[in-house]
Subunit: 339 residues, 2 copies
């Protein structure tokens, strides 16, 4: 089968890979209907994380092609969505809603779903079947649910978005934009998007942002305080993962407020004494997308949300290298790869 | 009047200070019935924080001697308990339960309550009157409510202590011990105290600890995982404030678990990427003691809890220097100063 391999930072190729087969009786094999490139794939692309002939990709939707002997909840032919972390969905951690840190978790990034087929470990705990075969135009949104939407949703929940709340969102990438959509769905009263990019500002507004702030860092945080009677936002989503963005998020929140962070931190160091005096709640990590999948799939199926709009470039899998480059150069927010 | 002044690190003296008077119409003057030395007073004593002729102390109980023209909720002659942070108790931050970060907050440490009298700013928002004049033996417990009990309580709430929960407590000082008492009152099923000190272990058990762990750091955290089926504690209280204790707390919690930290961080740096993959909730800061005071005072008044047991040395105010030394040398957990 064909699949994406990152030979080294900046060197992405689509090559022949061995078609996966069932290893454990809890595995399923899916034929990908679509996959995509994640903002986090840019860390190794830019050499900030290690990359040496690594299979790439952890987002996926597709059709079940084969199941292991123990698989019960999905059947051959089902259209399925799964999280970027495989989970048993039954351990205490999963039952508490933290499937991405399941005691038996498998990071799908190690498997590489930018490919024609993928092996999904712990299929019963990981995959959620859609109510039927989806219309073609729903596929981008279902694919978004696999990571960016679920991640933005988790961040908005961690930021305690809800009625009467002012929520600020740091990061106007696909996850930040998804968090805006989530905050809107969760009933937030006011949603402030940090963005300097006209097209992303437009999508932010379409997803529910009520205000746009172009300032960044300390200046950006000061602007939020100014807009909220000196208090700060009730909740803030952090969806970038740098030192500046983390403190921008923390300092945008009021004391006792909530920061939901999902940007994979690189070079972030939080000084304990400074953090102490902010008095905020800080919660984040790899989003437990599986927790939200049934609800998100239904919202998409019922055409109540259209998160697939975060994809602004669609390419065939064979042109994955161009997709990486477009995202790296910020010519694209998020790239969908067709199969 | 007589009051404690820290001339320089290690140099604590009791000297003549000017008796405070009403400055703002929202002020009250109290005559202290008792005061005490806080673990955090040891930071300047040890030269880790600046100290130059600073009035000391931020914990207090006493009798209202005089009130400003605007004060309505306490009257001359009332016995009162207040938090270590004065607050208006009416701004949005206070109303959300974060009075220690009130938009008009005044840190009582700057005023110095290790003295015969103290001016309490924002008296209506800060002071809570007891149901009557307390019996002498209740005074240590009421004084504990002013900081250590309220702080331990906040930490236990932040750690989400409650029925069915396993809570670990890092720090066997007065705050850690108070957090154990709080976790027990909040209904935690299992309370694991980290302690190597036989007398503190005994008080921890008396306050509700079900298990004692003597290991520290990574070894201590590994022990908690081992004791909880590999998962980690549901919630952890951090009541020390060092790099080792913070990570001991974070690594003792399960993914999705809660760390309530109230140790004033010194030299603490949290690596963003490491924190990200723990998936915990982190919440702390200067405890909003005022939130809990009415409830804590009632529990003490009804003799349902006896947090005054954390005081294991009582000295007259004049001997404050000996009190500081005893706490610095860990000969005393917490020193009460009588007046």
């Amino acid at each position: 089968m064909r699949g994406v391999i990152m030979h080294a930072p900046g060197d992405v190729r689509v090559e022949q890979r061995e078609k996966p087969s069932i290893i454990e009786p809890s595995d399923a094999i899916i034929r990908l209907s679509a996959t995509c490139i994640c903002g986090s794939d840019l860390w190794p692309y830019r050499g900030i994380e290690h990359a040496d002939h690594a299979p790439m990709g952890h987002e996926y939707v597709g059709v079940v092609e084969q199941i292991g002997a123990d698989v019960k909840t999905v059947a051959v032919g089902d259209f399925v969505v799964g999280s970027f972390v495989a989970s048993d969905n039954s351990c205490e951690i999963c039952q508490a809603g933290y499937q991405s840190r399941c005691i038996h978790n498998v990071m799908m990034g190690g498997i590489g779903t930018q490919a024609e087929y993928a092996r999904i470990p712990l299929a019963d705990g990981t995959l959620v079947a859609t109510p039927g075969q989806p219309d073609e135009d729903l596929i981008p949104s279902l694919l978004a649910a696999s990571d960016v939407l679920g991640t933005g949703w988790f961040a908005a929940v961690a930021a305690e978005a809800g009625p009467g709340k002012t929520i600020a969102v740091v990061g106007d990438g696909a996850v930040g934009l998804s968090a805006i959509l989530a905050a809107q769905q969760l009933g937030a009263e006011r949603i402030i998007a940090f963005s300097r990019h006209p097209e992303r500002q437009a999508l932010a507004r379409e997803f529910g942002a009520t205000d746009i702030v172009e300032e960044r860092g300390a200046e950006g945080a000061a602007r939020i305080k100014e807009m909220t009677g000196g208090y700060g936002a009730h909740g803030v989503v952090e969806a970038v993962g740098t030192q500046e963005s983390m403190w921008q998020a923390i300092n945008s929140a009021r004391p006792g407020g909530y920061v939901g962070y999902v940007g994979v931190g690189h070079g972030v160091e939080l000084n304990g004494l400074e953090l102490f005096f902010t008095g905020i709640h800080l919660h984040g990590g790899p989003a437990p997308v599986r927790r939200f999948l049934p609800e998100l799939i239904q919202l998409i199926w019922d055409r109540k949300i259209d998160p697939g709009k975060v994809f602004d470039l669609t390419l065939p899998l064979e042109e994955a290298a161009e997709g990486y480059q477009a995202m790296d150069e910020r010519r694209a927010t998020k790239v969908l790869l067709t199969l």
